[in-house]
Each structure stands twice: as C-alpha cells, then as structure tokens.
C-alpha cells in the first residue's frame, strides 16, 4: 500500500501542485533501530569500535556534576511505539538513579523542525547536558550549533547523525545493525538446520538500518551457510500490514519458501498472520527470524510461531549516563559506543518474556 502511496504522493504533487510532501515519514527508521540487552546495557567489548575517541578537553566543555544538573532528552518519535516508550522510560529512570536535578523530556513526533525547536527551547531553559535521539541523520545542524554555542555537550542515541563527532556531538550510542543481521543468520541456520529457501522482508528502502541488517545477514549466509538460499527479498516498510500483504503474495509466487527473515518484529508478526491464512504453520512449516525484541514477537516464540528474535535494546538510560560520567571524568569516549544485543530463542523466550519491550 505504501508503495503506491509514494506514487500517489506524486499524483497529488503534480495534479494539485500541492506541497503535501510535508506528510512526515513516521519513523519506521527509528522505532526499530536499536537494541538492548539486560536492564543495564553492556558496552560491546570491541576495541576496534570507533576511531580516536573524544575527551572533555578536546570537546572543549566545562566540567559538570551530573547529580543535581539539568539534563534534556529530545525523543524523536511518539511513545506509542513500544521501542520509543521503553527508551524514554529508561532515560527517565536512569536520570533518577544518577540523581539528576531536573530532566526535561520533549518529543518531536517525527518532525525535524519540531526537534530543532525542542532542543532550542531546552537550551533556553538552561539544560546543561543533552541526550538526543535524532529524527533524521541530516539536518539537525541548527540545533547542534545552538548547543555548541551554549556550551552544552550533546550525546546522540540510536540514530547516528552525519555531523562531526567530538565537535558537533560527543559520541553515538547504538546498536551494530550489521551485527544484528549477522546474528539473525546464525539463528536462521539454527532454526532451519542449515537447509532452506529464505524470503527476506526488508525494512524501508534507503534506510541504513535496512541496509545493514540485510548486508549482515547475506554476508554471513554466503560465507557460512551454503544450505540457505535467499530466493526473494521485498520491502514491508517495517509495518505489520505490509509485512502481511507481501508475505501473502510471496507464498503464492514462491510456494517453496521455508523460512522468512524479517528486518523487524512487526513485519514478522504480519508474516505469521499471512502464513496462517494460507493454511500453513508459522514457526514449523515456515521458520521465522526477526529483529527487535518486542513483547508480541517474544510471545510469538513462546507460542511456537516465531523461531528466534535478535534483540535491540531500547534501554539507553544507564549507558547514556555512564558515558556522560566517563566523559566528565576525563576518560576518552569512542565515537561509536556499541551495545551488545541479546537474543530470544525457544530456550529463553518464556523465561525472559518480561525483558521484552
């Protein structure tokens, strides 16, 4: 449906010459991007992660005692998405833990201009440290400039901006999406016993999460699992109903499919509905592996309809404040702080259901 919608957008644009382009692309991009593990994040022990790193001195900021300080958090998308809700909640509780004096939270509702004005507002309200979940990789410059001018360090989480690290912002905290794809391939090998014809439900096109989760999966399959054959890949735009529609079509066009790799849980859940409607058993006739770790998907593992979920932990709070503390303690912060993402399988799904978001 969305494919035609993109085209429809052109109809409207050309027929009315109407700037409907303002329709915000609500964030499949962000809402599924990151992952997390346990309640406290674990920094992935990988020395190769990130370049030279960043220190307080290099960044040129004043030293700050986080306890009692005023901190701002600019959330990118509405908390109706489970991922966002968990992320916001995590920042809030971690702030309380650290003893932050005042935490100001804003939500840009997936609109870049709103995020920019949100951040400017928070600067006016005197925040001393900023955590930003960017709406978009580009275009946040006015807000970042304003923060620099005000001498307020910025830590970005879950989506990396294209600006210069240690200059416009301290560091990026997030998942390694390529690694998630790679681990999904491992899980797929496990679920299928190494033999199968795989269909991939892609995320939105032109999105680095989609690209990395796909490349990680395909590279791993190519190098390690010759028995897995990728027969088709089509976009489901990270949405449940589109995942369902596309899967329904795929089951007709490629009746020999035995496994589906979905770039996020929502599309996997859509695939489950489609497979059932076709009279097959999801998880048995057709194996399903996806990425995210939402409660619905993990419940799907418990119910035997999904085989594995690579988790993306949204609980950035503890890691964010830990990184901030290290920064003010004078330690070197790597450009990319990568978290180890957990994994749900038939073995641990039931026990870990409560960890799912």
């Amino acid at each position: 449906m969305t494919r035609s919608s993109i085209v429809s957008r052109m109809v409207v644009a050309s027929a009315f010459t109407l700037a409907l382009a303002g329709c915000t692309s609500t964030g499949d991009e962000g809402s599924n991007t990151t992952g997390g593990g346990d309640d406290a994040q674990v920094v992935k022990e990988d020395p190769s992660a990130s370049g030279d790193g960043c220190t307080l001195e290099q960044y040129g900021a004043e030293k700050l005692e986080l306890a009692g300080a005023t901190v701002g958090f600019s959330q990118s998308e509405p908390d109706t998405a489970a991922f966002r809700a968990a992320e916001t909640e995590s920042i809030k509780s971690a702030a309380k833990e650290v003893g932050v004096g005042k935490l100001i939270v804003t939500n840009a509702n997936a609109e870049l201009p709103k995020q920019i004005s949100d951040i400017q507002d928070m600067l006016n309200q005197g925040v001393e440290f900023l955590i930003v979940a960017p709406v978009n990789s580009d275009g946040l410059d006015p807000a970042l400039d304003a923060a620099k001018e005000a001498g307020v360090p910025v830590l970005t989480i879950d989506r990396k901006v294209t600006n210069a690290s240690c200059e416009d912002y301290i560091a990026f905290l997030g998942s390694d999406f390529y690694d998630q794809g790679s681990r999904a391939a491992d899980a797929m090998n496990e679920a299928t016993g190494g033999e199968g014809k795989v269909a991939i439900l892609l995320g939105s096109s032109g999105n680095n999460v989609t690209d990395n989760r796909n490349a990680g999966f395909k590279d791993k399959v190519e190098s390690d699992y010759p028995g897995l054959e990728i027969v088709v890949e089509q976009t489901g735009n990270f949405a449940r109903d589109e995942g369902q529609s596309v899967t329904e079509q795929l089951l007709q066009s490629n009746p020999d499919i035995t496994a589906i790799y979905a770039h996020n849980d929502e599309m996997a859940l859509g695939a489950v509905t489609a497979i059932k409607a076709a009279g097959l058993k999801p998880g048995t006739d057709i194996k399903i592996v996806s990425i995210d770790g939402t409660r619905n998907a993990v419940q799907g593992i418990v119910d035997g309809e999904i085989n594995a979920v690579i988790e993306s932990n949204p609980r950035f709070g503890p890691l964010a404040f830990e990184t901030a503390q290290k920064f003010y303690d004078g330690e070197t912060i790597p450009e990319d702080v990568i978290i180890v993402d957990d994994e749900y399988t038939t073995e641990n799904a039931e026990a870990d259901l409560d960890k799912a978001f």
């Binding site: 993109i6 109706t80 489970a82 109903d241 369902q244 529609s245 076709a278």
Partner: protein
Amino acid sequence: MTTTATPPTRAEAETRRRRGLDLDWVRTNGVYVALALLFLLNVVWTNNFLTERTLLLQLIQVTPVVIVALGMALVIGTEGIDLSVGAVMALAAALIPLYVGYGAAMAILIAVLVGFVTGSLAGSMVAVVGVQPIVATLGIMVAGRGVANLLGGEIKTIREPGIVSLGSESLLGVPYVVLIAAVIAALVWFAARRTTYGRQLVAIGGNKRAAELAGLPVKRVVITTYVVAGVLAAIAGVLLAARSQASDPTKLGQLMELSAITAVVIGGTPLSGGQVRIIGTIAGALLMQLIFATLVFHNIPDSTAQMAQAVIVIAAVYVQMGRRRSTS
C-alpha cells in the same frame, strides 16, 4: 462510465473516435486497457499467477483501497477532496480493541459511527462554514491521527473471534471482506447513477452556483457525501484491522488518502469534479494492486518498482491535464 444515465450513443462514441483516438478516450478507457494488458501479461509470464488463491488474494488485498476510493470518488465528484480517510481508518481501528469487550458487533458499530462523526464534521465545515475541502479534511486528518494515538496507544493485537473471522473467513468460497466490498461498490454505484442524490452530486460538482440557483439542496448533498466517505473509511479501517488482527493507530491507513485519490484519478474521474466513475475507480484500485503483485511476484527491487508506478501515475495525470486543456 459517466454519470449521465446511460452510456453515450453510438454517434457520440463515433465522433469521439474520429477526433483521433484522443486523450478523452484514453482517460475514460485507458484504465481498463491497462488492467487487461497487465492481467494478460501476468497470465503469460508469471508463474503461479493464474490460480484461484492468487487471484482471490488480489481481491482481498485491494478491498480497503476500493472501499475508501469509492467514497473519495464521490467527494471528488463534488469538486472536493478528503484527506482525512487514512486517519479515520486508524481512528476506527483504534476503537475496536477498546470496545471489543462489549462484543464484536458493538465494537464495529462504534468504529463505524466514528466515520459518521468525522464525515459530518468535514462536510459541515465545507458546506456550511465554507472551509476549503483540502483544509477542512487536513485538519481532521491531523486531529484524527492524534486522537487515534491517544486512544489506541501502541499497536494492539485483536483476538476477538468475531472480528478475526470477519477478516479471515469466507462465505461459499468468497472472503467476507470481498463480499462486503462488492456490496458497498454496488450500493455506491447505484447511488451515483440512479438516485436523485447522485444526479445532484455531479451537478453540484459541475457548477455549484448553477446548482444552487436550480434549488438543489447543495449543503445536504455535500455533507452527505463527506459522511459517506467517512463511514466507508471507517469500514475499511475495521476490515483492515480484522484482517491483520491488529490495530496500529500510528501506521494503519497511512497515506491511504493518496492511494485512494490515485485510484480515482487513474480511473478517469477528473479532479475538477462534476463526474463520478465508479467502475473506473474500482479498476484503478485493481490496477495498482496488480502492479504491486506483479512487482512482488517478479521480485523487482523497491526502487525500480517505484519508478514503474511513477510512470503510470504521471501518464494518468498527463491524460487528465490534456482533458482540461481540450475543454477549456
């Protein structure tokens, strides 16, 4: 098919042809030709295409677009536009999990009622207050989506058996959703072609001032039209939720307004109002669905797929604009 009560006479068709297979003809019939060609192409070139299951699947998947587009066609016939349909779908779907405790029928009734309310609101703003349709319905689109998020919160799975079976079961081999869409299409066709309301609608869209001076109940007809569009959008929202067994206030029906407008335009209804092409609209929706299926069946990458669709839409818009030139 135009809304003039019967098809053009042979003489008229004859001259139309003599004017040189012109854009007018393409505009009216292009969608059927394209649909037939694409269908035949698939029959020949696509594996597993000509199966009952595959064909039925296209009908199932196209239902929400068809239902919404039928309402849109009526609104466009009045020289209006309804951008709120996608948000109304989400709003209706968001109410299902909230009221499903009272039973499936009650939940559906309330969901459809919401379409009535938003439609009345949009219609009154347009007809009584005189707000431009695009502005009035844009407001409802934004507000409706907001309320849906507020009421619905995050995505909810629907397990109520009545609603699940509405989305997945069949009567005599025909899925309920397809049956419902067919009945709605027949009703809308009848309303547009055979009723006083339908005749008055196209007259209003064709020349509103003249219709007023002819004593037509302009306000009533316009409000009714937006109500119909709202109710149809709500029904589409319910069916989509029933089919995906989930209600996602953020994503359900997103950009549906544009899909619906596209179906109407490809179907040959001019955006300038005064005509309603019901069969053309259905064919337009089917064409888009078939394009989608073709692209998936042949595993065409997304970027190519978007370009292919862009070409079709630009062609449709070009034909439309050509028409405007020729009549001006």
